[in-house]
């Protein structure tokens, strides 16, 4: 039993890299064929894959850079790199999708169409097939490991496969005389992708603006801290997310007669208890007032 699980874990780590390269190569492949054959749907589908690549790269960079130790230049660590990568790249993708959206909409409305070349059809089929295979592999790993991260990854590939399938249908349709199908599919895909990019943009921007940790975490911190003896009152709790970690500023009142030595012991207790309960804590400032 254990051996299968180990095998699956190994498979999962390898899959995230395979998935990344697969998306990357397919994005470029679809992009080039899409531009050469003037298939707007294939271009939109390429942006889709590219979007996947970027989100994977952001995660990898996030993992690599965030783990760098705190230094003099960056006294609060490097966690925000992940957000910065996603914000800037989403912005570029957003610009590209909006352009494609307007362009395709223009073609649909003008009703003057040229059917795409058969090459676009082949590209769509290859992309659809490759993504479906990777999706199946990922789902296998999910079943054995129960990891939400891999599940979202798998879903990305499924969505990619579906978008490629839509391209295939669009091109088949345009070959049969329904010329508007190709740009119409592009309009829908670009529209959906715009929403996805805005979502990521919003999420990462909020992180960069020092968004507080979730309500549950904050109340958990309050609960744990209030259970420690010697604390008179919790004045204020400020949290902010730096990449994956939560940094906490705690403002606590103690009795004025206690010495600094005793206070220091209490703050040590607070740190210990919080670290035990909450996994992603970056740093805890305990301020006595």
């Amino acid at each position: 039993m254990k051996t299968t699980k180990d095998k699956c874990a190994l498979c999962a780590t390898r899959l995230s890299w395979i998935g990344l390269w697969d998306s990357f190569i397919i994005a470029i492949f679809k992009g080039i064929i899409g531009i050469l054959t003037h298939s707007r749907a294939l271009q939109a589908s390429a942006l889709y894959s590219f979007h996947d690549v970027v989100s994977s790269i952001a995660v990898i960079i996030g993992l690599k850079v965030s783990s760098q130790p705190i230094d003099e230049e960056h006294p609060y660590g490097h966690g925000n790199v992940e957000y910065i990568v996603s914000v800037f790249t989403s912005f570029i993708i957003l610009a590209a999708t909006v352009y494609l959206f307007v362009d395709s909409l223009g073609i649909v409305l003008k009703a003057k169409h040229i059917p795409a070349h058969w090459a676009a059809l082949v590209a769509g089929l290859i992309s659809c097939f490759a993504n479906e295979v990777i999706y199946r592999y990922n789902i296998c790993a999910v079943k054995h490991l129960n990891s939400p991260a891999i599940l979202t990854h798998a879903k990305h590939h499924r969505a990619d496969a579906i978008s490629s399938l839509a391209v295939v249908i669009a091109i088949l349709g345009s070959k049969m005389g329904f010329y508007f199908l190709d740009p119409l599919v592009a309009v829908f895909e670009a529209g959906h992708l715009t929403f996805l990019s805005i979502e990521i943009l919003y999420y990462s921007s909020a992180g960069l603006l020092d968004k507080s940790a979730g309500k549950e975490e904050v109340s958990l911190i309050r609960k744990i801290t209030s259970q420690i003896s010697g604390i008179k009152k919790i004045r204020n709790i400020r949290t902010r997310q730096i990449g994956r970690n939560i940094w906490v500023d705690l403002y606590v009142s103690l009795s004025g007669k206690k010495t600094v030595d005793e206070a220091h012991k209490i703050s040590g207790r607070i740190r210990q208890d919080l670290m035990k309960e909450i996994k992603y804590l970056g740093n805890i400032n305990v301020v006595f007032e």
Binding site: L208, L254, D261, F288
Partner: protein
Amino acid sequence: MIEERCLICSKKVEWIVLGINLGLFLIKGIFTFISNSRSLFADTLESLANVVITIIVLFSLKIAEKERNDKFPYGHGKVEFLASGIVNLLLLLGAVYFIFVALGEMGSIGPEKTPKLIAIFAAVVSILGNWVAFAYGRCVGKKVGSVAISANAWASCADIATSVAVIVAVVGTNLGVVKLDHIVSVIIALIIIKMTGEGIGKAIKGLMDSSSKSEEIRIRNLIKNIRGIKQIRSVRARQVGRKVWVDLEVAIPGSCPLQEGVKIIQRIKSVLHEKIENIAEVSVQLVPAKG
């Protein structure tokens, strides 16, 4: 302290810049139509881009004004870094695109129609208008310490550069020197790339909570003579938009009662708030000194 009139300026500067950019966009568009100048057309697009940029900056200033709340306990000041990063990124992409276009056109044979000299008029108007926007934005940006307003001032400056390139291009083609305008526009684009690269670097530093060394040394010097402090363990200052948040770790004798410690904290706070005008909040951690 920031002067009252500068704060008033900071509220209206971006609206004025928006007006200037919209006006220039219309004027240049009309003159492009009259004069057949390719380069003036590119310049018109730049004004349109500046309109978009100004709207982004206006939006970010609105967000930055918002008070602290539960979701954003440190305020919304950092949105200015974000806006300045995005503005610089857009300018950078524009400049790279510009170089590709210019190099592509250099390969082909000169323009089919010689642009009319009237295009120069629009370019001169653009230089004047953008100069006003640049000087005003730069002054306000510096005085109130807003990186978003400063970034937009540089966008106006980039537009001045392209308008100069338009004049060179129009005069050059009329005199028969064909490639001159392309060379000029490539050089200008390179300068813009360098400037915006630096701007992006600064924005990223702000977003990463990079330390400002000079500020930290200043804080250290201000508090080191305060009575009761044995040692300053660490000083961290981070820029949240226009304000500075300070985290201090200070050692005092372990046997000292907390009442005394709180008094020391209050002394530190009052000194820092008095001497450094853009401080948002100071939090001081007390630790027992060794020995």
